[in-house]
Symmetry: C2
Subunit: 377 residues, 2 copies
């Protein structure tokens, strides 16, 4: 029997009961809103997690890289949305995945790209399925719902012999700036209405718009209603992180992924301890800087996963060192060298990307399984 | 022939002539100061880079993880300093590397760890080589040069049957806070004198102190003199990055590693373009936030490596998107979708850690070799 105390640090710990609870909460939210859930696997990047996340769902997933699409298609998943703007020179990789049996739905917001996809589809005698990306206020990518290019691209994709028009999608990334659930619900309605408005404009032009896809973890959980939406994408809900806990997507007691680390040094003169989880092991994400309770680079918990103090956090990181000021009434001597601790990260998508696998526990200390992750591009 | 234009993005590009020049500059600085150069391979994590960095040097390296030690020992390197505090439960991995022929020199600043190393060495009938870490002002880890524990630990390590005392080491990480070469030279002298003072205190107690090891890229390059020091460790000098360029360790024209990315979208209404290199491809390191010319998450160059404008930088990152405001007189339409660009990262140690390999170019566009990297723990 391997326990957490036996593992070489730093490494990832995944608490399966918390994962299962988080998945159930999002499934229930989507059922309540009568929309399909398309789990976004950019966070988990693991077929083992995907299989649990897909239990009882329609079977579609979203990914953020073609490498993820290749990995999940190889594992047998067949309905994959690549939720980042496609560029023409990546179409050969898409076609290669699709000839092995999966569908990879693409997104674009540019008419020249839609034309290039159609040309490449004609050249390959292949039909690429493409959605139009709508900007619902994030101001990153996408077209305004009422932009004339939306109809022009939909028409081109629907008419092309190398393309099929697969609907519209949007992402309310700006929900991360919300600081209350009332605010999140307001952004969710903006997200919903932008996607639905674009779909209605397309339909009014006589073009079939099969899918209306929205999503971000906060809006997916807290939308008031999702009329006109067909599916919701979300990813970080599976694990949660300190940032999500502070904007109301989950509680600290729901966080399913932590970094196992070990105390490697003391400075009793300065009142801090050092762990072997630094900038590479935790990432340099500082998203909690923007919320009221800044936890530096992560919140410290005991080996059993319980936070030791709301103030005990990784305050500084170096490449392989994390520096933790010890808050009173605790003292440095409460943490002998060799003590194992767990760190709840600020942004789990960034932190998990540094590791090849999850050490799975069922709420306790025993490592019951090891689940592989895939990283890179 | 593969050229940069053929590569799937994002990926790392390594300019070999620049690497060779950077290596030569550090070698010359160490020769000038009559100290051995121990290249720190936490940045490059590649045996191909190590072999070039070691040409003409004594052969010793430093590493920041035991995984790196295992990798470089497997590749035949035999003099490895593990420059992060050892903890007793990692000694089994150290002993396993050493039984295959390499020496892994350890560091500690704690008497209880020195005792535990000796006990484990006795148990395994093995001699661990251990240095004492000195704090020269970084205030992270290490003992003050005059602390009585320095002598006590040296005596314990020298007398132990499971240990050999291997000298003292320090790291002037606070040189990164310097904003002028005069300041760097001042910190270099503080670093040197702290290490030498500790060594002299140990020698005055009748204990042989064979090695006096210091190092950080800025202090290694700009020390006024290094009397009493036997070796210098440095790592980031091999590649350089935007942060190092701004604190005077190198120029932008010396940066040997960049991320190759592709324009995936436009927002002409907002004046920005998007590339397929975001938070994972560049890292969320914001070290240039602290220097006068903030380059966000990286400086943009054309495919040939020449910066397009001192103001053209990745201003925001999302997991897989980088957002670049296009500075006048350039316009969004100067960057058609599909354009390949290069990004010089803020902190190359963090950025390179996301990639499995380097695409090597000899100053031009042709990829002449692919060099593997090793990541993780």
């Amino acid at each position: 029997m391997t326990t957490l105390a036996d593992l070489s640090t730093p490494c990832l710990v995944l608490d399966r009961p918390r994962l299962v609870d988080n998945l159930a909460r999002m499934s229930a939210a989507c059922r309540r809103n009568r929309v399909a859930l398309r789990p976004h696997l950019k966070t988990a990047k693991s077929i083992d997690v995907a299989r649990i996340a897909l239990a009882g769902e329609a079977g579609g997933i979203a990914v953020s890289t073609l490498h993820e699409a290749e990995y999940f298609a190889s594992a047998g998943l067949t309905d994959i949305q690549y939720a980042v703007s496609i560029v023409p020179d990546k179409l050969a990789r898409v076609a290669a995945i699709e000839t092995r049996g999966a569908r990879v739905t693409l997104i674009t917001d540019a008419i020249e790209v839609a034309e290039a996809i159609n040309a490449e589809g004609e050249r390959l005698a292949h039909k690429f399925h493409v959605q139009i990306e709508i900007d619902c206020g994030e101001r990153r990518s996408g077209l305004a719902p009422g932009a004339p290019e939306v109809i022009a691209i939909a028409r081109l994709l629907a008419a092309g012999t190398g393309t099929a028009f697969a609907g519209v999608m949007t992402h309310a990334g700006h929900s991360y700036a919300c600081r209350s659930l009332v605010d999140v619900e307001r952004v969710a309605e903006i997200e919903r209405s932008a996607a639905v408005a674009a779909a209605e404009a397309i339909r009014a032009a006589g073009i079939r718009c099969p899918t209306v896809s929205i999503g971000s973890t906060p809006t997916a959980l807290h939308a008031g209603h999702l009329e006109g939406v067909t599916e919701v994408r979300a990813g970080v809900y599976m694990f949660g992180d300190m940032f999500q806990a502070q904007i109301g997507s989950c509680g600290v007691e729901d966080l399913a992924v932590s970094v196992l680390a070990e105390v490697i040094g003391h400075r009793s003169d300065l009142g801090h301890i050092l762990i072997d989880a630094g900038a590479l092991a935790l990432s340099k994400d500082r998203s909690t800087e923007a919320v009221p309770n800044d936890v530096g680079f992560g919140l410290i918990a005991a080996l059993d996963g319980k936070p030791l103090s709301p103030q005990m956090r990784v305050a500084r990181v170096y490449q392989e060192h994390g520096l933790i000021p010890v808050p009173a009434p605790l003292t440095v001597s409460d943490f002998p060298i060799g003590t194992k601790l767990r760190v709840y990260p600020n942004h789990v998508c960034m932190t998990a990307a540094m590791y090849p696998s999850y050490n799975v526990v069922d709420g306790g200390h025993e490592v019951t399984e090891i689940w592989a992750r895939t990283n890179g591009w």
